[in-house]
């Protein structure tokens, strides 16, 4: 079957975005990316992807708008409480044996997971020896993550998630309600670095003991998933931990051999030691 005109335009738009702005979406899952690009096309008042491409190439203000459609930023504090419970009860005992710890939250979006882990590590008494790196391709998301402000309407959910994750303190100890938002304590960010990083184009930047990358790989096609998993493997110290999203697994990846299953239910894997 020959490629439709829209498919041709779709590929060309991704190519244009990559060449001009160095954001590489060419390895993203097609079905979901196309849906989002169509939403962007409609919002930008364009009839075709070619028109979107023209706008994005010649109007520098159009690209940030497009980027918000291309990056998915929906998360919660302590999303999937069972995951955080497994981190707390099963992974933390191993992490305690390290004198210093680095944690990489890859694709951190607006920082929900970073703050969750910062709270968890403080509750477990590991905060002082831990650095948490939160990385994302979206500078807009990183600014939101730096600000650490979430809608008050979401706090009930966050609080319930935290409780179900085995939280040892009250989540309200970590934020102040102001101007319709919950502002998370800047003190939680003392051991956190937010930084721009692309799993599609950048390299490893640190040796870490724990990578948490949840609901990111589902937006990648298999070659890009393999690239990201390769980065995680290279970044993790021997027997380091990799946490994935509730519906993500290494099952269809060519990198599966580099890891062993640590907690199947929680989707936590462990880098294999050298033979």
């Amino acid at each position: 079957m020959s490629e439709s005109v829209e498919d041709v335009e779709f590929r060309l738009l991704l190519e244009a975005v990559f060449r001009k702005y160095h954001y590489d979406f060419r390895g993203y899952s097609r079905a979901s990316l196309k849906r989002r690009l169509r939403q962007a096309r409609e919002r930008m008042g364009c009839a075709t992807f070619s028109q979107v491409q023209d706008r994005v190439l010649h109007d520098a203000t159009a690209f940030p708008e497009l980027l918000t459609f291309l990056t998915v930023q929906v998360s919660e504090l302590f999303r999937d409480p069972d995951y955080f419970r497994a981190v707390r009860e099963k992974v933390v005992p191993y992490l305690r044996t390290y004198p210093s710890l680095k944690v990489w939250v890859a694709g951190c979006g607006a920082g929900e997971e970073v703050y969750s882990l910062a709270v968890l590590f403080r509750e477990e008494g590991l905060e002082e020896r831990t650095m948490i790196y939160g990385t994302d391709i979206s500078s807009q998301a990183l600014r939101r993550a730096e600000a650490g402000v979430y809608g008050l309407d979401r706090l009930a959910l966050f609080t319930e998630n935290h409780r179900r994750s085995g939280g040892k303190s009250s989540l309200s100890d970590y934020y102040t309600a102001a101007y319709g938002g919950a502002v998370f304590d800047k003190d939680l960010r003392r051991r956190v670095v937010f930084s721009d990083h692309s799993l599609a184009t950048d390299q490893v930047f640190a040796e870490v003991q724990f990578v948490s990358c949840r609901n990111v790989l589902i937006y990648f096609d298999r070659p890009l998933q393999d690239r990201a998993l390769g980065l995680f493997g290279d970044s993790l110290s021997r027997q380091g931990f990799l946490g994935l999203g509730a519906k993500e697994s290494l099952r269809f990846s060519s990198r599966a051999d580099a890891f062993e299953t640590f907690d199947r239910e929680a989707r936590i894997y462990r880098k294999r030691g050298e033979a």
Binding site: S29, R30, A31, S32, K34, R35, R36, V72, V74, N215, L217, I218, Y219, D221, R222, Q225, G245, A246, K247, E248, S249, R251, F252
Partner: protein, 192 residues
């Protein structure tokens, strides 16, 4: 409705889904060659009960869909709770945590629209009972791509709103009872 050979079936159901699916899916015979992709609206924090509840009564394997898995013939896939289920152009399944569509995640429209894009006229879409309007837009996309549109007859549905919305969006869809839908799906493939 169409001369194209049907290659896949996509089903959407909401309120009353379990009872409706319990009539349709077990009537598909062992060896039925088409993959069946199902979206059911469920509370987000629940595990997919459908697989357990329907697995025993179906003659086809029933599984929760996994990200990037190749779509196998003769297999019933359920969208996991709280994720959209999509069909990729290379005929793999993918999951997404994007915003709910019409307050629903998984969304029937998202499955139907992406499946229509991949299978074109080779897709049959089925809208069953439900109390909202999800699936209507997706069913129209299936018809526009030349596929087959089936809708549970509203007066036989536990909740009529979803079938009514689907028929409204897609007036030439075939309205059938649950038993007739099962029979129609069986008839879409050559007898073995």
């Amino acid at each position: 409705m169409t001369a194209a050979r049907t290659e896949a079936v996509a089903v959407g159901a909401s309120a009353g889904a379990l009872e409706a699916l319990s009539v349709v899916l077990p009537r598909l015979p062992a060896g039925y060659p088409l993959p069946v992709l199902v979206v059911v609206h469920l509370p987000p924090d629940r595990d997919s009960l459908m697989v357990g509840l329907l697995g025993d009564s179906c003659r086809l394997p029933v599984r929760e869909a996994q990200d990037k898995e190749p779509i196998e013939p003769g297999t019933i896939y359920f969208a996991p709770p709280d994720y959209h289920l999509l069909v990729e152009p290379d005929r793999r399944l993918s999951l997404s945590g994007e915003e709910p569509v019409l307050f629903s995640r998984p969304s029937i429209d998202v499955l139907f629209e992406t499946a229509a894009e991949t299978y074109g006229a080779g897709l049959a879409g089925v809208v069953l009972t439900g109390a909202n309007g999800d699936g209507a837009r997706g069913l129209r996309a299936i018809r526009q791509a030349g596929g087959t549109a089936l809708v549970q007859r509203p007066e036989t549905a536990a909740a009529a709103a979803m079938p009514l919305a689907a028929l409204d969006a897609c007036p030439d869809a075939v309205a059938l009872t649950l038993e007739e839908i099962a029979e129609y799906l069986r008839g879409m493939v050559p007898p073995r």
